[in-house]
Symmetry: C2
Subunit: 232 residues, 2 copies
């Protein structure tokens, strides 16, 4: 069965979970691994991220969309395109709890964004068992952009689908171009307000990388992401 959960807190058991936080956590993690970071440590809060700081670890994150004081980088995907060390710590409010929750409920956890869409679809075609596409949402609210990508992934797969998957596919069909879906979202509007509107266009690019982040292990409340071995 192919299922979609609209919020990270709605996670349920499945063989494979695909976590989505288009604006911006899963996009940033994907591009960090694509750019040469060996792994990304995803932490829920700023304090937790600071606690993971160590030699060779670059600290990235956001508070109200912007780079917090003392952090090396913000949460913009473009901030990670030149690796500053082997490991990236990313503090993300909505992505981290969704990822950690998925690890607790599901056998394997992958991450998707528009930039690795085709690669994720090919990875999923090699898996058996139930697939849960888990939208992180924002602060407990459902988002258009996560649901939109969930629908694109569902539509690209064969198999029985839940009502939630059909709802997501309707959202995917409603917007001709990814940027249209992102632009109507509350998350994109907030990024424009704080001067990070260019992140929206960046996150709307489709299938520019083959990297599919996969949870290798957890460290307490944090998750360790590495690039999945590509099935070609």
């Amino acid at each position: 069965m192919i299922d979609v959960a609209f919020l990270g807190s709605d996670v349920r058991p499945a063989a494979t979970a695909v976590v989505i936080d288009v604006l911006r956590a899963t996009t940033t993690i994907t591009m960090a691994l694509a750019s040469g970071y060996e792994r990304v440590l995803v932490a829920g809060g700023l304090d937790q991220a600071l606690g993971l700081r160590a030699e060779g670890r670059v600290l990235a994150g956001e508070r109200d969309c912007e780079r917090p004081p003392g952090f090396d980088l913000g949460n913009s995907p473009e901030d990670t395109l030149k690796p500053l060390g082997p490991e990236l710590i990313l503090a993300t409010t909505n992505g981290a709890p969704a990822i950690v929750g998925a690890v607790a409920a599901c056998d394997e956890v992958l991450l998707a964004c528009l930039l690795n869409e085709d690669a994720v679809v090919r990875e999923l075609a090699t898996r058996s068992g139930d697939i849960l596409i888990l939208c992180a949402g924002t602060n407990g609210s459902v988002t258009v952009e996560d649901t939109y990508l969930a629908g694109r992934l569902s539509a690209a797969m064969d198999g029985p689908k839940t009502d939630a998957a059909l709802i997501a596919e309707a959202v995917a069909a409603a917007y001709p171009e990814p940027i249209d879906a992102l632009d109507v979202s509350a998350g994109a509007k907030q990024l424009h307000v704080v001067g990070l509107g260019s992140d929206v266009a960046y996150c709307a690019q489709v299938s520019t990388t083959e990297v599919v982040p996969r949870v290798a292990r957890t460290m307490g409340e944090a998750a360790v992401l590495e690039a999945a071995l590509i099935n070609v």
Copy 2:
């Protein structure tokens, strides 16, 4: 703000809540009031419904979609078209907790189905403050049919809308006719399996009545529904 919650358990505060359980609770309650029942007592479980039984109260409900032993009627809207007494008790698994939860969080609670769609839109146009369209869902799962009607209601209203409302509107736009949205749903398939497929077509009728059920009060875990005074 116009907002949509995809599950009864996702209720949040609003001036006005509109609860939807297209298949079949809110359709049955609407048609019972339209047919002449003075009020409908909505109970969560069969035992709770049996506990409300009294002189002049007709007992309706379902277990696995079918009429339970000892009940006067099932949960088909057409069962209520000839009133057998002044009050109907309706045992409904998903509708009742959504309605009672909405009463706890919101100032006023109305019920919508396709059959009273236009009347609900006109009622809402007279209200001020935030509107929460609350889909009951089925056993904790999101349903296409409830989200579809939520989207139709949202699309018929002016005002700022949340991402969840935009998602529902995409679902409304995806199906040319109401019966198309209902037919793809897991709930409709289950009704066909148990021989109640005619309920699906009945619940897909649009704006055949002016009655808008409104919660007048609660009785413990049950809600008392009466027809709202129509604003014309």
